[in-house]
């Protein structure tokens, strides 16, 4: 029983981090019609930079602030060079971001190296949860941080003028343009924010995963599944789907081993895709 609680909690923490990354993927997809296959690599760069920042400054807090900011910059530069010229055709964005992903992976391998490393958690130890379950403190902190970031993003989208612009452009690009919304700037900022979210996810995840230049390839399909299962363009749905996926996988892995749990969750996924192709949380549409 205790094992299941721990695995479910692991799933929750991991799911919230995935939600953060998937949210970035979803806004980029919903607003720009870009299938960003380098998104996992953005996450990976986040974990690597967190490791480097802690290594250099000794402070996780600095990493938590600086790395996502760098993510914004990386996203903006990427949009300008590799996304804007190919925006007209969605399949070209796949290829172009694939090229970008290659460069990010190899860039990390060339500088950081190919050996996977671990980052020590900034807060160690365990806490006793109700029911006498001992649980890793940092994972709880990570879950809290990810949840907080999710809420901050939703608030940003709902409450700020820029958030309103983002929603308007996502809804209807042409109308937004006639309303005088600077669509190109919104697109640039959106890509930048999406990348920032992925790097932030990377920093939060760094102490509970391995820091490795291949980590992005591994995480990418899960993020895409969360986006699709949650319903395209449905941001809360995306977050919920990410948590659901990870918790399911966590709980199933209490009974079976992790790779079998993977297979089970993938099978569930195909069933959902087949039965509810517009996402788990989509209302009835005409």
């Amino acid at each position: 029983m205790q094992d299941i609680v721990i695995l479910a909690l692991n799933g929750l923490a991991w799911g919230l981090i995935i939600a953060l990354i998937a949210l970035g993927l979803s806004v980029i997809f919903g607003l720009l019609d870009v299938i960003n296959v380098a998104h996992g690599d953005f996450f990976m760069v986040g974990t690597v930079l967190a490791w480097v920042a802690v290594d250099v400054t000794g402070s996780f807090a600095i990493a938590l602030v600086l790395v996502p900011l760098f993510g914004l910059l990386l996203g903006a530069v990427t949009e300008r060079i590799a996304i804007r010229p190919v925006l007209s055709t969605i399949v070209l964005t796949v290829v172009s971001t694939h090229g970008l992903g290659l460069m990010l992976q190899e860039g990390v391998r060339a500088t950081f190296g190919a050996t996977p490393r671990r980052l020590l958690a900034p807060v160690g130890g365990t806490v006793t949860l109700p029911g006498g379950v001992l649980y890793d403190t940092y994972r709880l902190v990570a879950a809290g941080a990810a949840a907080l970031a999710l809420l901050a993003f939703f608030a940003f989208q709902q409450r700020t003028r820029f958030g309103t612009w983002m929603r308007a452009v996502r809804h209807d690009r042409e109308t937004a343009m006639t309303l005088g919304i600077p669509v190109q700037r919104v697109q640039l900022m959106t890509f930048s924010i999406g990348a920032g979210l992925a790097l932030l996810g990377g920093v939060i995840a760094a102490p509970i995963t391995t820091v490795d230049f291949r980590a992005g390839i591994e995480i990418l399909p899960t993020c895409f599944m969360a986006v699709i299962i949650g319903g395209l363009g449905n941001l809360p749905g995306t977050a919920a789907a990410a948590v659901l996926l990870a918790v399911t996988e966590g709980v199933v892995s209490a009974v079976l081993d992790p790779s079998a749990a993977r297979i089970v969750s993938l099978c569930l996924m195909s069933a959902v895709l087949f039965l509810r192709p517009h996402g788990l949380f989509a209302g009835a549409r005409a």
């Binding site: 070209l92 796949v94 694939h98 992903g101 460069m103 599944m225 993938l266």
Partner: protein, 322 residues
């Protein structure tokens, strides 16, 4: 002179050059390229399967590695476990991939676009993880290696894959036949039905085209082509492993297709050739060559959005004044 006849002449020249490659490369004392060329042919065939779905029917598949994997394991298991000869083992690989595509296709073709793309990935991931787990059958992480049986063994006439030139001609023959088949398909009524479904599925169904059935047929043929490529790849490496079933391999097939020119017959192979040649050239010079490959990939789609073959056709049309 029409664009069509120019392209036909070029294709013929390419074919002659490919057939003559072994003695030519030998004479230039760069035999090593023969093996690279063999690999290019195989990967070009895989890319053409992604192109059949995307370029002709409009379905973006990120799961062709699954059928590639079935072809690969079919050959490896056929030879290693059942002691089959080369041709029956290839038959087994192709049959396995066709069967898998026929079943997966029933579900996949009901979805389009992102949904189709993601379900093809999901299917291929399921079997990737299964392949890793089912060690007694697939060899798990270590994969399966085997000794390749001869291509032909008629007493005095014995052809084996052990000879690089023979292996190359064997692969070339099969790949050329597979591309000829695709050319034939494009020109047929079915090929036009593919185009109709790609250009407008609602219109197609109002004209009497069973859209799901057409998509399914394309899905199965594409699965068979990917399986054939996988079978050849297993024979080429005398090895099958789950690594080549991962979704990144499917992704590369799409990338090669788009870089070479989606929708064109030879585009996918041209794209595969470009990236593999660049990789081979650069990897000896600089360890971190993927940085350049990545930059080149971005540059091609930015400056030639229709791919190399697509850009060539546009140029040809302009020069010949339409």
């Amino acid at each position: 002179m029409s664009a069509l006849s120019v392209n036909r002449a070029l294709t013929l020249l390419l074919l002659i050059a490919l057939v003559a490659a072994p003695p030519l490369l030998g004479w230039m004392e760069v035999d090593f390229w023969l093996v690279v060329l063999t690999e290019i042919l195989i990967w070009g065939l895989l890319a053409s399967s992604a192109n059949l779905l995307f370029g002709q029917v409009g379905l973006l598949s990120f799961g062709q590695a699954l059928y590639f994997g079935f072809g690969m394991y079919g050959v490896a298991i056929g030879i290693d476990r059942f002691g089959l000869g080369l041709w029956p083992a290839m038959g087994l690989g192709i049959a396995a991939s066709l069967g898998m595509a026929a079943v997966a296709g029933l579900v996949a073709v009901r979805l389009t676009w992102h949904y189709f793309a993601i379900i093809t990935v999901v299917f291929s991931l399921i079997f990737y993880f299964l392949a890793l787990r089912l060690k007694p059958i697939t060899g798990g992480d270590d994969g399966l290696s085997f000794a390749a049986p001869p291509i032909l063994d008629w007493g005095s006439l014995r052809l084996t894959l052990g000879d690089d030139a023979t292996q190359y001609w064997f692969v070339l023959l099969i790949v050329v036949l597979a591309f000829a088949l695709q050319a034939r398909l494009r020109a047929s009524a079915l090929g036009r039905a593919f185009a109709a479904v790609r250009e407008g599925e609602r219109k197609a169904s109002l004209l009497g085209i069973d859209v799901l059935r057409v998509r399914w047929i394309a899905f199965v043929i594409a699965g068979g082509l990917a399986g054939l490529a996988g079978a050849l790849f297993a024979l080429f490496g005398r090895y099958a492993s789950a690594t080549h079933m991962y979704y990144t391999v499917s992704g590369e097939a799409v990338v090669w297709t788009v870089l070479g020119g989606a929708g064109t017959l030879l585009g996918p192979a041209i794209g595969a050739a470009l990236l593999i040649l660049v990789r081979e050239e650069l990897s000896t010079v600089w360890e971190h060559y993927p940085l350049i490959v990545g930059a080149l990939t971005i540059a091609v789609v930015v400056f030639a959005p229709k791919g190399i073959a697509g850009g060539w056709n546009l140029m040809l049309a302009r020069v010949l004044g339409r």
